[in-house]
């Protein structure tokens, strides 16, 4: 249910996102989803890849600092109100979203939302009891 996301520290300078991505490409690791959080001096590249263990190994060997985090992937219809319906599942709970990002999925009819929660287990439970489809890792890659 929970999906492993890798975070990589990158300085806010030209080429600093490209280099780790090229490294993953050279090792035939597929990036399914990605988001970059940036500040004035540094950024955090967050990726969901086909083989997180191999990706971590390759990146760490090249000197990167890599942190694995458990996130949840949620499938929604790619139409107005899709996201709002999901977020309403959290309104009545004390579950806080640390950050999230989204990407289109399955020929543009569906979208996947990636959520980072403080407590992913509690969040998964809340989503499922609200009837939301929380994706397993293979569902994210085998479509």
């Amino acid at each position: 249910m929970k999906i492993q996301q890798l975070s990589i520290f990158a300085e806010n300078k030209p080429g600093h996102i490209a280099a780790p991505c090229r490294l993953l490409a050279d090792n035939c690791i597929d990036i399914r989803a990605l988001s970059v959080a940036d500040t004035q001096h540094f950024g955090i590249l967050r990726i969901i890849v086909s083989d997180p263990n191999q990706a971590t190994k390759v990146l760490e060997a090249a000197g990167y600092v890599v942190k694995p985090t458990e996130v949840l992937a949620v499938e929604v219809e790619d139409r107005p109100g899709g996201l709002a319906r999901i977020l309403s599942a959290f309104e009545r709970t004390a579950i806080n979203i640390e950050y999230m990002y989204a990407f289109p999925f399955g020929h543009g009819e569906r979208a996947v939302l990636i959520f980072r929660f403080d407590d992913p287990d509690a969040a998964a439970q809340a989503l499922q009891s609200a009837g939301v489809n929380v994706l397993a890792k293979n569902e994210l890659f085998n479509r």
Binding site: Q5, S7, F9, A10, E11, H16, A37, T39, H41, F42, I44, R46, G63, Y64, V65, V66, K67, T69, E98, Y99, R116
Partner: protein, 190 residues
């Protein structure tokens, strides 16, 4: 033992009370006027506690030529650095070991770091670049910004001056063989 005049081109030494020499800190050899080295002082008027060729550890140079103000007392350049590793930042004495102790205290282990000194608008600026380690790295921006803040706050408490903290990627600070080059002083260039 020295004071600046309105020309701001060095500090006039009270030569009637102090005899200044500039030496090579390694060989001890006296250097010619104008060359940079360690300031050595001999007191000429003290009776109870005279100092003979006292090594100050301050790096400076005697300024050649006459001063526009008309005073004939020789001048020395303002002291910006020392022959030991002590730094003088905005008039505050700072040892890199103090910065190292703070990094160790806040992070738990000592990361690779570098102290970069520059001069902007006549004021010393200090930046401490700290390599991000797996122990302190977080996927949340807020956690990393809090780390920068905690480092800057602790340094300010210890040193009395505010220092800019920049997190940098691992392996980006140059490794040197033997003694690490922790301080990059660019103040002479700016």
């Amino acid at each position: 033992m020295a004071i600046e005049c309105p020309c701001h081109e060095g500090l006039h030494i009270f030569e009637d009370h102090f005899y200044p020499e500039i030496i090579d800190p390694d060989s001890g050899r006296v250097l010619p006027e104008g060359q940079e080295g360690e300031l050595v002082l001999t007191t000429l008027s003290k009776w109870a506690m005279p100092m003979i060729r006292y090594r100050t550890r301050d790096i400076t140079a005697l300024v050649p030529g006459a001063c526009g103000c008309g005073r004939s007392l020789r001048r020395m350049r303002r002291i910006g650095r020392r022959s030991d590793d002590m730094l003088i930042i905005r008039g505050v004495n700072v040892y890199p070991s103090q910065i190292e102790a703070v990094l160790l205290e806040v992070e738990g282990t000592l990361p690779h770091y570098q102290i970069i000194l520059t001069r902007e608008h006549g004021l010393d600026q200090v930046e401490v670049q700290v390599e991000v380690t797996a122990q302190v790295f977080s996927d949340r921006v807020g956690a990393l910004e809090a780390l920068e803040e905690r480092l800057a706050d602790t340094l300010e408490r210890v040193l009395g001056i505010r220092i800019a903290i920049t997190l940098v990627e691992p392996q980006t600070i140059q490794r040197s063989e033997g003694k690490a080059k922790r301080v990059i002083d660019k103040r002479g260039q700016t």
